[in-house]
Symmetry: C2
Subunit: 208 residues, 2 copies
């Protein structure tokens, strides 16, 4: 297996933290997003969507979605389980992972990519260029703020995102909350979110 | 178990087709989205996101994400498998399901919700109102067209979305392609996509 990564980017960090929790490392290739290496013919041959992370399997199959990569790694390296310990918990991890992707990561990306100079004409990832829309920068910020409020309330009676065990849902949420700093949103005085964020940030895996 | 559904809406149809392929039915409650029943206090108590489908488990847990619901049903009703027959195939089903959600369903929804009179101030689902943006109607249409082209190319050397077995990825793609008609996009002369669409539409489950 080989991992295609970009150290400063939020999405591939999800896979790095996931592997660190498993105590595993993989041969890794850095893709230079700042210089648009993801748009090169070599990388497109692996992932026509032009995104990282990509996990290349030994038979040449390329997994290009974080959830698919994590599912594969969960079964290759079962301990400790990070995607649920029974069926109900598995379903809740998938559910929270999806919610945090759409309400958190996508909201922050909407705000960030529609306002940053470096993303002019790159409001969406992928091979095609899309113009920035100032209204989307504002909408993304409103949605990201609502996301932080929602997580704070959810964590008021739960130590982790799904019950009493750290899971992929916590990893996705950690990266979404850290990504929100890119648009100057912080946990601030949301005390349940802040307590959880200190806890998951203090795990050695958070440095991955 | 109890399913909260809305017969005309695309997302809950994914769960209905999934169940039909398993030969299962569940007690079902219709939620009247046209009259905004999803925003009622009763429904919000089950799903604060105000979306269908919702699967209520016997312990009262509500699963509010299609993928989480399908994962749960896949393990409760294992035959026939619809989420992959081995680890690699499982990962590819998750991957294609996610791609079709973001490149297909979300793109069509972006076009449809930003242009339809009935969705004024409802450009996004959920408890909060967001204004329509004409630029997003156009962007969604461009993305949905690229999605149909991408699927056509992918299906040129594959009978189903993931190899030689019908899966959740086909269900999500069927619903995305049918949803595209709401913005007047059809498979048209994309012949691989049209062949696949005829095939999956002729299965009895497609009527679910």
């Amino acid at each position: 297996m080989k991992l295609y990564d970009c150290a400063p980017a939020p999405s591939p960090r999800r896979v790095r933290v996931f592997l660190a929790e498993k105590g595993e490392t993989l041969p890794t290739v850095q893709i230079d997003l700042a210089n648009r290496e993801q748009l090169s013919p070599e990388f497109r041959a692996r992932n026509p969507r032009c995104t990282v992370p990509v996990l290349e399997l030994d038979d040449g199959t390329c997994l290009v979605e974080t959830l698919a990569i994590c599912h594969y790694l969960e079964h290759r390296f079962p301990a400790p389980p990070l995607m649920g310990r029974d069926l109900r918990e598995q379903a809740l991890v998938l559910q929270w992972n999806a919610r945090i992707e759409s309400e958190g990561l996508a909201a922050v990306a909407e705000a960030f990519r529609n306002q940053s100079r470096g993303f002019r004409d790159r409001a969406l990832p992928g091979p095609q260029n899309f113009a920035q829309l100032p209204e989307l920068a504002e909408r993304g910020r409103v949605r990201a703020t609502a996301f932080l409020d929602m997580l704070d309330e959810h964590l008021s009676d739960s130590p982790y995102i799904v019950g009493s065990h750290y899971s992929l849902a916590d990893i996705t949420a950690l990266i979404a909350v850290d990504f929100a700093r890119w648009i100057r949103l912080e946990p601030g005085d949301r005390r349940h979110l802040a307590r959880w964020h200190r806890s998951v940030s203090s795990r050695p895996s958070a440095a991955a």
